[in-house]
């Protein structure tokens, strides 16, 4: 897949169109900005770290049934995604008080919230992404009420999945930002990236930052933080299950099937026309979505005998 045209350049990413209308390529940059661009820097390795982290997290979300724009990681800095039109809304979800919420409400950072808080901001650099509410969104037509329900449900579900996942990485998910988009048929996808640029991540049980706050607040060790999160995220296994069905090829006599067919008929189940007997395998793996080709290989190289058996497989979504 080749990049065709730069269609958007943001603070940390470039988005390109491709030869296929329904696919974009996102390129992750090393540059970072904060405070609406007042503070700028290049952070060595950030692009690669965010690309790797986002890819793995989107893969996890796909396994868990969260529709998102990710298709595959192309290289160290680029991922292939479904082309979607981004809603002009930023969704912020908070599990603890931190950042702008602490400032706005005069609360101490780190306080655990009774339940996750969803906030919405209107995406506009000139206006500094002002906070809006659901009425603004529907009254201004930024998203329809049905779309907003999907966006909210997906945000809460994703938050729960990622709290659990980051816990396995020994990280506390304090808050994060989502963007959503829709494709030409109106399906809504979680989009953008999920990385230390868009999440507040603290060392579990402490308030030690492993995210962009290191840069915002001049805490030092910025590069190390991105690399550490990348390392932990990549090392944490994502378990998934696949179900593989193996049957004799059509045209090969399935003797067991015939015997069962006759047995069913003798019980009066005359509507049964054919019975094919197969093997069902459930395989649990630590996988990445882009490794679907490996399941094919498992089937071809061992699980099925291609001379006489057909196979089909599917991911089991939890």
């Amino acid at each position: 897949m080749k990049k065709v045209k730069l269609i958007y350049e943001g603070k940390a990413k470039r988005v390109y169109s491709t030869e296929e209308d329904d696919k974009f390529i996102i390129e992750f940059k090393d540059s970072a900005t904060a405070f609406d661009g007042l503070k700028k820097a290049e952070i060595q390795g950030k692009g690669e770290a965010n690309c790797a982290i986002s890819s793995k997290i989107f893969e996890l979300l796909t396994i868990k049934g969260v529709r998102n724009h990710y298709i595959e990681r192309l290289n160290e800095r680029e991922m292939l995604v479904r082309s979607v039109k981004i809603f002009p809304i930023e969704v912020i979800i908070r599990n603890r008080v931190a950042g702008s919420m602490a400032k706005r409400l005069g609360l101490e950072e780190g306080r655990k919230l009774e339940k996750p808080i969803l906030e919405f901001c209107y995406k506009s650099d000139e206006l500094h992404d002002p906070m809006i509410n659901e009425d603004h969104i529907s009254a201004l037509g930024l998203a329809s009420p049905e779309e907003l329900i999907t966006i909210k449900d997906t945000s809460l579900k994703t938050n729960q999945i990622l709290i659990e996942f980051f816990k396995l990485c020994h990280l506390d998910l304090v808050d994060m930002k989502f963007e959503f988009g829709k494709d030409s048929s109106g399906e809504i996808y979680l989009a953008d990236e999920i990385s230390p640029d868009t999440c507040r991540l603290w060392e579990l049980g402490t308030t030690e930052s492993w995210d962009k706050d290191r840069f915002r607040r001049d805490l030092g060790g910025v590069e190390e933080a991105y690399n550490e999160v990348k390392k932990r995220v990549l090392e944490t296994p994502v378990e998934s299950k696949t179900r593989i069905l193996i049957r004799l090829k059509q045209g090969i006599l399935d003797a067991q099937g015939s015997v069962i067919l006759n047995a069913l008929k003798s019980l009066g189940f005359n509507e049964v026309l054919e019975v094919r007997v197969g093997k069902l395998l459930e395989i649990k793996l630590d996988r990445k979505v882009d490794e679907a080709g490996r399941i094919e290989r498992m089937c071809k190289e061992l699980l099925a005998n291609p001379v006489m058996e057909d196979y089909e497989w599917e991911w089991i979504e939890e």
Partner: protein
């Protein structure tokens, strides 16, 4: 003429083969444990019958991962003689050393009895002691002997033994034994080692071992 008999966990005809080669033909023979990787000095490898790895997944499917099998493949590439009997035949198809596959018997039963076979080729190193068209009797003992290949015409010239008179397991084209294209790898469902002495009721199988000795 040195024979090597591979012993997998679950092989159970290894000793019968050993006995025939050692005691009846007086040829040097040794067992090769499936974890060995040294086939030095071996002229003919035998993969004996049995239930290697409990027939898990499919008969013969797991045995091909034994360390010895990569050596057996190289041995085949070098032109060495290989005979797979029953489970050995299943292993050879699973390992890709012989075409086709062995599925479950048509009647869904384990069959253990004598069958009649017709010798289709006597120009292989395994069958020179027979005459083409000979009708011989050998015992079979298997649950998965139903040979299948999508295009049997492709291997028409590789068929060495066919069931004669009656096809016990549904094998396509009555195929009971085949060689590879090169002719140095032979797989058969019947058990020649069980019919190599008069006292056992038949010596029809002995000619296979004799042919091999003569070939080398």
């Amino acid at each position: 003429m040195n024979f090597g008999i591979v012993v997998f966990p679950g092989s159970n005809c290894d000793r019968d083969c050993y006995y025939v080669i050692k005691e009846i033909l007086n040829q040097p023979v040794r067992f090769i444990w499936h974890q060995e990787t040294d086939l030095n000095g071996i002229d003919c490898v035998i993969l004996p019958g049995g239930f290697s790895y409990g027939d898990y997944l499919r008969a013969g499917a797991i045995a091909r991962f034994s360390p010895v099998m990569s050596e057996v493949k190289e041995f085949a590439d070098r032109g060495g003689l290989i005979v797979g009997i029953c489970n050995g035949f299943q292993i050879l198809t699973e390992a890709g050393l012989l075409p086709g596959a062995l599925g479950r018997n048509k009647g869904l039963k384990f069959i253990c009895r004598y069958v009649s076979l017709r010798v289709e080729r006597n120009d292989t190193p395994f069958t020179t002691e027979y005459r083409r068209g000979d009708i011989i009797r050998m015992p079979i003992a298997h649950n998965e002997g139903n040979y299948y290949i999508d295009n049997p015409d492709k291997i028409r010239n590789q068929v060495v033994l066919r069931y004669y008179g009656e096809n016990p397991n549904g094998a396509i084209d009555d195929i009971a034994g085949i060689v590879n294209e090169r002719g140095n790898v032979f797989g058969l469902m019947p058990h020649p080692e069980r019919c190599s002495e008069k006292i056992l009721g038949s010596e029809d199988g002995l000619k296979i071992f004799k042919s091999i000795v003569r070939a080398l």
